[in-house]
Symmetry: C2
Subunit: 328 residues, 2 copies
DNA sequence: TTGTAGGCGTTATCAG
DNA sequence: CTGATAACGCCTACAA
């Protein structure tokens, strides 16, 4: 890899002159300019951004530290993050914490050693004191994505509200009893339950929660559930994976969807369109989330004044109604 | 961010001494050592790897340039790549070409400007002369993953062999006619067709290809297909996405799976286990592929001698038989 | 318009 | 054991 100094020697000028030509800032003698450019082209000069970073104290590197890149949802976010960063000439240096706080901690340290200009993070546990302490000491412009953290910039989707949307939808479609497939700590559950509560005081008896991740247990639970005399049941699964599993189980048990049971998933992954019946699901605004996060981050980096105040962006999810939860 | 020079001033020693202490290479006076370490800890010193890179001509950065990070298959690979790189102290700088050769070209240039130590690539089109010229001129240790490129290190799965496996399986399960859902350029198709050919000369009439990506056309094609008198039909979809779509269509048309039609997908994604009937699928050794690629790359980087010769690794995929293609 | 000098934060190589 | 000194590749004054 040829350097400016070498080009300088080759063309008989000084290195700063080469720099001027290659960066096109200042005016230079056209003859020299041509000579230098020709030489650079010939040797396929590529500036050493490492050296540029050292002097300019700007690396054009953005650290991305997230919990699970193999999760399609995050992978999708990364795609848009990269797209947006690229537009402004930044590159992504990627770390996967794998939901492991040790790895996350180490990743944040590495990111600091690379002197990244900014940071996009999906914390393993944003309530952890250790994490909060570390991320704040880093003193790097940061945007939290997917979670809401007090005192830091963040973009996230209002899961509670999304849960309420699903509750309303299932109620409107005439489902009389309900199942939530997930944990009660999930904000989606809370919104879902609250919404249903509005439609009658007896909702407690009408809302069942299935928490287990073991298929056999889930199946047994469903069997027991449907053995009783039941009205039409609306089921909300906390993500599409689980929704697909639920659909498979319902089909296995011979329960008609959406007749006896309506089903709504979460994430609106591509397969929703492919399943039979097509799966209703809640769509998160991935592109918007990623784009906002990156734009915001770059603004913080390039305009520290405006970047100072903390901005939070709560985005709404959209329920996509398909066949799996339709009125009969 | 405190630097070695600052620590040196604070502790009244020279900067190189600080470097020695912090790197623990050479022996230093225990008193000074303690003083320096204390100071470094107090100010949470983190070495500037950018500066280290500049002098050491090693960035510990590995460029990853792939076609579509939002594809679950590649996202999975990235997870393992990161894991393996991390073990050896390397970090990933990630680029998504989005199947766009312009973006790919630019990414390769950026990667070079960052002076990455190595490169993992999934080319948009490995047969392109332009790409071949560029990648070779880069002169960076590179491992191609997922594709086979003459004269370069690569790991890939033998799709042709996988296709043959599927053909054999469907034949053994008693399917008498066959559909391939994908394109005939796909090596999977070739292996599939060749295998079927072994079981009788009339295979040409018995193997139908559905290429369209438009659901309506696919549906119409299937309807026309099954309107005729048909034996049991074995269907091979080029990936799980398509297999799910196919399954949905078959269910919609009221065709019994695996009775009238058997179905096999490709990629063995999580949903195979969740669908009803459970989907047979070909499992690619993602972890092995990624791990091999990264280990090989690091070896090339750290031991240029051994890294010189070109190594190719062809991995076999494994067919996972489930309910969707079982003998009746 | 061009060259010289200095510095970014390290590491490495010398003397001492 | 420790401190100068040079070097990595580039940029930004400053001077000519």
């Amino acid at each position: 890899m040829i350097t400016m100094t070498e080009i300088a020697k080759l063309t008989g000028v000084s290195q700063p002159t080469v720099s001027r030509v290659l960066n096109g800032n200042t005016a230079v003698n056209p003859k020299i300019r041509e000579r230098v450019l020709a030489c650079a082209r010939e040797h396929e000069f590529q500036p050493n951004v490492i050296a540029q970073s050292l002097v300019g104290s700007k690396t054009h590197l953005i650290g991305v530290v997230l919990t699970d890149i193999s999760n399609a949802f995050f992978a999708d976010l990364v795609k848009y993050l990269e797209q947006e960063a690229r537009k402004s000439g930044y590159s992504l240096i990627l770390f996967n914490s794998n939901y492991n706080t040790e790895q996350e901690k180490e990743s944040l340290a590495v990111v600091q050693r690379y002197r990244v200009d900014g940071l996009i993070v999906v914390p393993v546990d944003e309530t952890s004191a250790q994490w909060n302490a570390q991320i704040r000491r880093l003193d790097i412009p940061t945007v939290v994505i997917t979670r809401h953290v007090e005192g830091m910039d963040s973009v996230y989707v209002t899961h509670r509200e999304a849960g309420a949307q699903v509750g309303r939808h299932l109620w409107e479609e005439g489902y009389e009893e309900y199942i939530f497939f997930g944990t009660t700590r999930d904000a989606k559950y809370q919104g879902f339950a609250e919404e249903l509560k509005k439609h009658g005081p007896g909702f407690g008896r009408k809302l069942t929660v299935i928490t287990s991740k073991e298929e056999a247990k889930v199946k047994a639970g469903l069997e027991a559930y449907f053995r009783k005399e039941r009205g039409r049941t609306g089921i909300f699964a906390y993500n599409d994976r689980r929704a697909v599993q639920m659909l498979g189980l319902l089909q296995m048990l011979g329960i008609d969807v959406p007749g006896q049971a309506g089903l709504v998933g979460f994430d609106n992954t591509y397969m929703c369109e492919f399943l039979y019946p097509r799966l209703s699901s809640v769509s998160q605004p991935n592109e918007e989330m990623a784009t906002w996060a990156m734009k915001r981050l770059i603004r913080k980096i390039e305009d520290p004044e405006k970047g100072r105040e903390v901005k939070n962006r709560a985005l709404k999810a959209t329920l996509i109604c398909r066949e799996s939860s339709k009125k009969q």
